[in-house]
Symmetry: C2
Subunit: 206 residues, 2 copies
Amino acid sequence: MTAEPVGTGLTAEDGEGRDRPRYGEGREALLRAAIRVVATSGLRNLTYRAVAREAGVTHGLVAHHFGSRDTLLEEALRYSLQLSVETSSLESGTGQIDDFARDLPEFVDREPDVQAFQYELILESRRRPELRPYVEELYDYYRGAARRELARLGIQDPALADVAYAALDGLVFQQISVASPENTRRSVDALRTMLLAARDAPPARD
Amino acid sequence: MTAEPVGTGLTAEDGEGRDRPRYGEGREALLRAAIRVVATSGLRNLTYRAVAREAGVTHGLVAHHFGSRDTLLEEALRYSLQLSVETSSLESGTGQIDDFARDLPEFVDREPDVQAFQYELILESRRRPELRPYVEELYDYYRGAARRELARLGIQDPALADVAYAALDGLVFQQISVASPENTRRSVDALRTMLLAARDAPPARD
DNA sequence: TGAGAATCTATCCACATGGATAACTTGTCA
DNA sequence: TGACAAGTTATCCATGTGGATAGATTCTCA
C-alpha cells in the first residue's frame, strides 16, 4: 500500500507537491527537495516555502532542521557530494578506452538535476566562502576519478587527465543547458582519439 | 574635471555605489551594473534596487528602461554577448600553436565578471526559454572562434575543435570558481600537446 | 505505560521586493 | 525662445520572504 518504489527522488519524476514523508524522514526529504528546486527553479527560488512544498512538509520544518536558508544550502551541497561519490559515474574500471565516459551522455540526460545543482553551487561558492571546501572536495573527487580511470588506460600524465576532466566538465555543462546527449557522445569519442594520440605520440614535435 | 578614464566598468574597480551617470547614459550603466551584480552577488540579488545602486541611479529607472526584471536580464545577456564578440579572446589569428588560448588565464583572471555572468545565465536559460536563443548564439560564436583558430593550426576536424572548446569552457569555469590562472595555464599547455598529437597521429590504433 | 525528547505544524511579523504612478529635469528642434 | 519628448526621481502598495514562537504529534525507552 505505502510501498512505492523508492529511489533518490532525483530522477525525472516531476510532479510537484510530494506526499508527506514519514515521521523522521523530513530532513532527507528536504535535502533532496532542495536539489530539485535549485535545479529546476534556480537559487533565487530556493525559499523555505518552495523547498517545503517540494518535500511535502511545512516550511517551519526547514527552520527546525537547518536553522537558516544558508545552512540548508550547505547541507544540500554535502548531500549531493555524497550522491556523486556513490554514483561514481566516471570510473568504469574496465581498462577499455571505449568505456571511458561511455555512459556519461545518457547519465546526464537521465539525471540532470544533481549536475545542474552542483554547477549552481559552484558559482554560488564564489561569493559564499563557507561553500568552498565542499566545492574543492567535489572537484578533487572528480579529478581523482578521471586520473585513476585514465591511468588504467596507460595515460599516467595527470595534466592530460586534468584536461580530459575539464573537457567532460564543459561538455556536461553544455549538455544540461543547450546541447544534446548525441553531441556529447560525439565529443567524447573525439576526446578518446586525442587521448590515445597523446599517449602514443613521440615526446614532442613542431 | 569630469574626465575619468572610462572603460567597460567591468574590470576590477570594485567600489560600490557608482557616481551618477550623465543624462542619457543610464540605460547602458544599468546593463553594465547588471552584469557586475549578477557576477558578484548572484541572480538572487539582482534586484531593481541593487542594480540601480550599482549603476548610480534610482530603481524607478530600471522599470522605465526595461519594464521588468526579466527583460533587464535578457538585455544584459545580449549586451554581454556583444562584449564577448568585441573582445574576441579566443582568436589570436597568428597561426602559432603556442598562441592558442595563450592569454586566456590572464584574461579570465583580470575580468571574471563577464564570464561568471554568462555561466549564470546559461544555467538560467534552462528554465527561461526566452534566453535560449542568446545562449545558443553565444555558444555558436565561441565554438566557431575555436574552430577557426584551430583550422589555422592545421586542425581541420571540427569535432576536435569542439572538444578543445569544451575543455576551455571547463577550465574557465574552474578558474572563476576554485582554480588558479596558473592551473589553467598548465592545462592549456597539455591541451595543445594533445591537439598536436591528434593532428599528427596516424589515422587510428589500438 | 508514561514522560521526555525529537519531529512536525500553524501562525505571526518585520522587511525587502517588483512594479505602478506621478512629478520633475534635461535635451531637442522648430 | 518654448513646447514636446525622453530621461530620471520620489513615492506608494500588495505580495512573498526568512525566521521566530508556540503548540501538536510521534517516537523512545526506562
